[in-house]
Symmetry: C2
Subunit: 405 residues, 2 copies
């Protein structure tokens, strides 16, 4: 018995059948004596359909009106889910973001949650209602509807779990947990019972695509225990929390990130402050630089290569070409035919054999490493895009994940 926040994504509520399935999960938890708050995304393709509809009318629609439009998606799915729960004979009420007390900043399309006034939800829980909340949305202090941006429903759920001091925030998705590698590409991938927030953050940012970073960061800050599990199968998922059970498993997972491009600034004068110029320029446009490699070029010059998200490549190049003269480079090259493969696990740094094992696995598979980057809990390599899946499998096979179970 406790207070549970459950979150269901768009594919979990994409049609009547799936909504009825979710209603079964929700009422199951309620029948076990729990107070249940459900956060729900828009159905399946609703959000994309609405974006398309808007683009047809005005490709440069204001974000304020886009939020007004898109927020309707979760309003509809939450009402439909409430209806399905009603049909099963349970007391239920659906609430929009503003009804549920989500007050946000005014950055339409990517609003941050300012505070949650949980009074209405608490009142409904006190009268034994199941509460269904439209995720992804809130209102700013002008009473204008805002959205939290893509993946915002996870953030809604975690924020609500923090505000209500829920025992656990269960994130239902179409996978049944966090794996040591993407099971679509790596045959031997193993589901993890537990993972720390930090490891999850590295895996998410590396393209493991299970939870959005914002929600994991928020869960870490407010000590909300997350569980990632399947809405289609009844079995335990993966717990994301601070301290994890001591396991033999040193490496928690192998991830591939395709949203990456390499930019090379060639033939820079060998004077101090050049790297600073380039990276402060990119930072001014909020472009995240990841792996950095500096090397000696010909004729006393140097070359700086770095990776940026593929989605930022064009604006990074535009910016660098604008300031071409200030930088004083010979030329700028870009390559988006790359992919980043990483291994993640706490305490990796204290075990130097890990990196060696990873590089050896890649060598054995005849895969060339272009760049390397390491942190306390991860090792990333940049390789040719075509080698991505092979690298994933080779590295995964090299570490004995099954033994860790």
């Amino acid at each position: 018995m406790g207070l549970i926040v459950q979150k269901f994504g768009g594919s979990s509520v994409r049609d009547a059948e799936r909504i009825n399935n979710v209603a079964g999960i929700v009422t199951g938890a309620y029948m076990q004596g729990n107070s249940v708050v459900v956060v729900v995304s828009a159905q399946g393709d609703t959000t994309d359909d609405l974006i398309e509809k808007a683009a047809e009318i005005n490709p440069k629609a204001s974000k304020r009106e886009m939020d007004m439009l898109l927020a309707a998606g979760e309003q509809m799915s939450s009402a439909l889910l409430a209806m399905a729960i009603e049909r099963l004979g349970f007391p239920v009420i659906s609430l929009t973001g503003w009804q549920a007390g989500f007050l946000t900043h005014s950055t339409h399309g990517a609003a941050r949650i300012r505070s949650i006034d949980g009074e209405r939800i608490r009142k409904e829980l006190d009268s034994n209602q199941i509460v269904v909340v439209a995720g992804f949305q809130g209102v700013d202090r002008f009473d204008d509807i805002t959205t939290l941006g893509r993946g915002g429903s996870d953030t809604s759920a975690v924020a609500l779990a923090a505000e209500l001091r829920a025992d656990v925030c269960k994130i239902y998705t179409d996978v049944d947990g966090v794996y040591t590698a993407d099971p679509r590409f790596v045959k031997g991938a193993v589901k993890l019972e537990e993972i720390t927030y930090d490891e999850m953050l590295e895996l998410a940012s590396l393209g493991a695509n299970v939870l959005h970073n914002r929600s994991v960061e928020m869960a870490k800050r407010y000590h909300v225990t997350l569980e990632v599990l399947s809405s289609l199968e009844q079995k335990p998922g993966t717990l994301v929390k601070e301290a994890v059970k001591v396991e033999k498993l040193l490496i928690k997972g192998v991830a591939k990130d395709e949203n990456v491009a390499r930019i090379a600034v060639i033939g820079l004068p060998d004077t101090p402050g050049i790297a600073f110029k380039i990276f402060s320029l990119l930072a001014s446009r909020k472009i995240n630089v990841d792996i950095i490699l500096q090397s000696i070029g010909r004729h006393n010059t140097k070359d700086i290569s770095f990776t940026v998200p593929l989605s930022d490549k064009d604006s990074a190049l535009e910016l660098l070409h604008e300031k071409f003269d200030v930088i004083g480079a010979e030329r700028i090259e870009a390559d988006d035919n790359v992919v980043k493969v990483s291994i993640v696990g706490a305490g990796m740094q204290s075990n130097p054999g890990v990196a060696a094992k990873m590089f050896e696995a890649l060598y054995d598979a005849n895969i060339n490493i272009q760049m390397i980057s390491t942190s306390e809990i991860k090792i990333s390599v940049l390789i040719d895009r075509k080698d991505g899946n092979r690298a994933l499998t080779a590295v995964h096979d090299a570490f004995d994940f099954n033994a860790g179970k």
Copy 2:
């Protein structure tokens, strides 16, 4: 220059092209120096689609959740219209019912407007914004979303016009005004320049299908001048207001109402209070009885026939059969193979020739009259359903509408 409220129905905003057309009308009025508030319905079939979606999940969904679901329809259309207006380069903001200050009673699905707090709209108008308001919806005092029921967007528009003391409330539809008869069925039907509220009320309740009665009643109560006009053609429509210009046109229109059934209670004992028993029974279930005919039956009994809306026929019959013994009738018959044809016009009563002319036209067309009802401004006859359109044309032809122009 003034303050105009414009209302656009679902077919006027059914796709991107229509929405752009509406944006043109709105900005045209704005460019003429007017303050413009636009009330918009959900796009085309959105409401019906949502009702269908809900029925698939829960055919007995609560009205509270239905309102939550359906209100999303106008939220989306108002955002899309605002985007189209943005594209034309005009300042615009869309507001949901609650943002626009619509406070309603809690009767979900058919909520009445309790009050409108026009502060937000006035603030936006003061900063020269075009304001697009989601029609058909509001919130009750628990902050729950309500809808005003079908046709509620007309009511939203008129209520807003009253609150803001607008100069005119323009109701844009897919017809270009109020006609002397339905132009789809009667070739010689003529558009009226003006009509009084009372005449419009009779025409609407008789199935002229242009404006909803609630909105006309509200316009009458708050002295809001309405104009019914086309969203597809630029030409004057029909003004609905208190005093109309003196015209030769005595009869304002001929209407056909197919939502009618005749019920006959046969062989009642000839004792006082029998009619009262029957009609108070029906009134208790809010079933409106229209034309009533009492006649002498066989063996010292009497028969009572009356019409009810076709949609209420089954519940009326059920009710009468429940109380069959109390009423003491021999049997109850029902006939839904009927249709009501009416002529409407102020001052008709003082001109006895009107009724005679109508009955003569029907006689000449060999159409049998089953029942007759008259009021100060209308004469209705019940006839066989198959004769409906012929009767409409025959009666319309008998009165010289073109001469009245």
